[in-house]
């Protein structure tokens, strides 16, 4: 086990804390120091809550000393994506329109983190309102990929992935509407899970697309993800779409997977999520991972999901439509930015338009206008209505596939991390990053991304595992098995091969 506390997994830290080998204050301070050292160049955080985190850590240490029964993750620090509402801590969703907003309430998942006494290190950077795949659409500057600071960390949750990948936090919270947890995990060599829709409460997540959004864990190991998912998951009466039944035993599933035995597990390779458009190095690592899974006893077959080819199109109708409505509340009347036009009468209507014109970035405006179009009279049936039908077809594809196999797999993303700025002016090219992750959101099924090696360019590749709704345990089992077998072959985690970051920001 590493001497450096920031190199340990959350499970390792939890064990050391429980054994009294380290204090939460030491662990928390080590991560705050790491943030101070490397976050200048990485820029994973929008807000660091040093004092609050240390106060929680001190409280945990005191309670532990007093012999209190604590949650297994008590005292293990966590970073929270800035789209998640935190009482008393600024929450901006990466948007200028929310600059300086301090919420008067906590998201349900934050209440659960606080109840379990995890020190919250701060809020992580993201594409504005989670719209993007590169974190370049943040109003507060780009986040940089710890593997190569000239490259994107993925998005929208680039901040959470980079924070975990750069050892600034052992755990982070992400949200995934079309891949915003899994795609950043893939390009930063970390682990990310989008739970079944309704597994984790959406109360307090600043909504992008209500029927697609889901919060989940961002970590460096599958077991850590399971630990965090079990903590934040479960029914919440404040979210009508929250699943009524308890989260299945995920930690147990991950531990089972770590044995490396997948005998009898049927794995389906999605024909439509491989091949053309996927980088050769990405395909090579994917194929090698399939060999590893076969070696673990899994039966690997190919399964076709014929309507997945329409998923991206349906997604870029459903998401903007719901977002155009969800983002209507940002109008400068009750909270956040208010911009009064300089010329003409300052009516409510004009102040709203001026505020939204100044407060929203390009991508947000693009999608709101697109969604307004798709919902407007005369176009609804052709666009939004048709997209909802495609959603049915994709669900049917999943249902048919899961009749044949236990999990479906694909590369998480078609390519490795691209250069900052490379796709900024080409929205369609940017949207293609999520081609493999989007079907899961449309159908509400769980998906996990786990590192599967480095591509020809020396950058991480992600392997995606998808399971039926409510069977999140399967993605943990298969993901943990692949992780254990690959790490055994690599002689350690993939992240250990990332270049050292220095305070100057140059990779070694």
């Amino acid at each position: 086990m590493s001497e450096d506390l920031t190199r340990r997994t959350a499970a390792e830290l939890a064990r050391a804390l429980a054994a009294g080998e380290v204090s939460s204050v030491e662990v928390t301070q080590a991560h705050l120091d790491r943030i101070a050292a490397v976050d200048g160049p990485v820029h994973a955080f929008l807000h660091v809550s040093d004092e609050e985190a240390l106060a929680t850590a001190r409280d945990v240490d005191r309670r532990r000393a007093a012999g209190e029964d604590l949650h297994p993750l008590a005292g293990v620090p966590v970073a929270v994506k800035d789209v998640v509402v935190t009482e008393g801590t600024p929450t901006t969703a990466g948007s200028r329109i929310l600059q300086g907003w301090v919420p008067p309430y906590d998201a349900t998942l934050v209440s659960r983190l606080k109840a379990a006494r995890l020190p919250i290190l701060g809020k992580t950077n993201m594409d504005e309102f989670a719209m993007g795949s590169s974190t370049e659409h943040s109003a507060y500057g780009d986040t940089h990929n710890p593997w190569d600071l000239t490259r994107i960390p993925g998005g929208s949750g680039g901040g959470s992935a980079a924070a975990v990948g750069a050892y600034e936090a052992p755990l982070a919270i992400g949200t995934d509407t079309g891949g915003s947890i899994r795609q950043p995990a893939a390009v930063t060599g970390t682990v990310g899970v989008k739970p079944t829709y309704g597994s984790v409460s959406r109360y307090g997540l600043i909504a992008l697309a209500s029927s697609l959004d889901q919060a989940g864990p961002v970590t460096r190991s599958v077991l850590d993800a399971a630990l965090l998912h079990e903590l934040i998951g479960g029914h919440d009466p404040r979210d009508a779409t929250s699943l009524p039944e308890p989260v299945p035993p995920l930690v147990a599933a991950a531990r089972q997977g770590l044995t490396g035995d997948l005998s009898g597990v049927r794995i389906g390779v999605v024909t439509e999520l491989n091949g053309e458009g996927y980088q050769p190095g990405v395909r090579a690592r994917f194929d090698e991972a399939l060999d590893v899974l076969r070696g673990a006893g899994a039966q690997v077959t190919e399964v076709s999901c014929p309507h997945f080819g329409y998923a991206l199109a349906a997604y870029y109708l459903i998401l903007p439509s719901e977002a155009s409505s969800n983002l209507a509340k940002f109008d400068g009347m009750r909270f956040g930015l208010r911009v009064v036009p300089q010329d003409g009468p300052p009516t409510a209507e004009r102040v709203m338009a001026a505020t939204r014109g100044a407060g929203f970035g390009d991508e947000v405006k693009r999608r709101i206008i697109l969604g307004t179009y798709a919902l407007s009279a005369g176009y609804y049936d052709a666009y939004y209505g048709s997209a909802q039908k495609v959603r049915t077809l994709i669900q049917r594809d999943f249902a048919a596939a899961f009749d044949q196999v236990d999990v479906l797999v694909s590369p998480t993303t078609p390519t490795t991390a691209f250069k900052l700025g490379e796709k900024l002016d080409d929205p369609l090219a940017m949207y293609l990053n999520d081609v493999a992750t989007i079907p899961a959101n449309l159908a509400g099924v769980p998906g996990l991304s786990v590192p599967s090696g480095l591509s020809d360019d020396g950058l991480p590749v992600g392997f995606q595992v998808l399971a039926p709704a409510r069977a999140d345990d399967r993605v943990y089992r298969v993901g943990a098995a692949l992780e254990a077998l690959l790490e055994a072959s690599w002689g350690g985690p993939l992240l250990a091969r990332a270049p050292e970051l220095t305070t100057e920001g140059s990779a070694r």
Binding site: T241, P244, M333, P345, R366, I369, Y373, K389
Partner: protein, 99 residues
């Protein structure tokens, strides 16, 4: 064929209450045209016999008991307000007419 004209973008921006500059209008018209053309392919398979899905996980009848919970304090309620007066949110005049 152009499906989204500059005028259409201006109409949509009005509906969505977003001031756009001339440059933005022009650029968005071009971009949205490309995007809409691309996403329009959903119509290829969205035939009349396929039902629409609005919610990914089918559930019905999720009700809350009619029980009162503690409201925010007035100070909390107004804490984010750009302007407030007499315990209320101060907002600009409602219609476009001159005072």
């Amino acid at each position: 064929m152009s499906t989204i004209s500059r005028e259409e973008v201006a109409r949509l921006a009005g509906l969505a209450r977003i001031d756009l500059t001339e440059t933005e209008l022009t650029r968005l018209a071009g971009e949205l045209d490309v995007i809409v053309e691309s996403v329009a392919r959903v119509q290829e398979v969205a035939t009349a016999d396929v039902p629409a899905t609005s919610h990914p996980i089918p559930m019905t009848n999720v009700f809350r008991a009619d029980v009162v919970e503690a409201p925010l304090s007035v100070a909390q309620a107004l804490s984010g307000a750009p302007e407030a007066q007499d315990g209320r949110f101060a907002v600009p005049q409602i219609l476009g007419e001159d005072a």
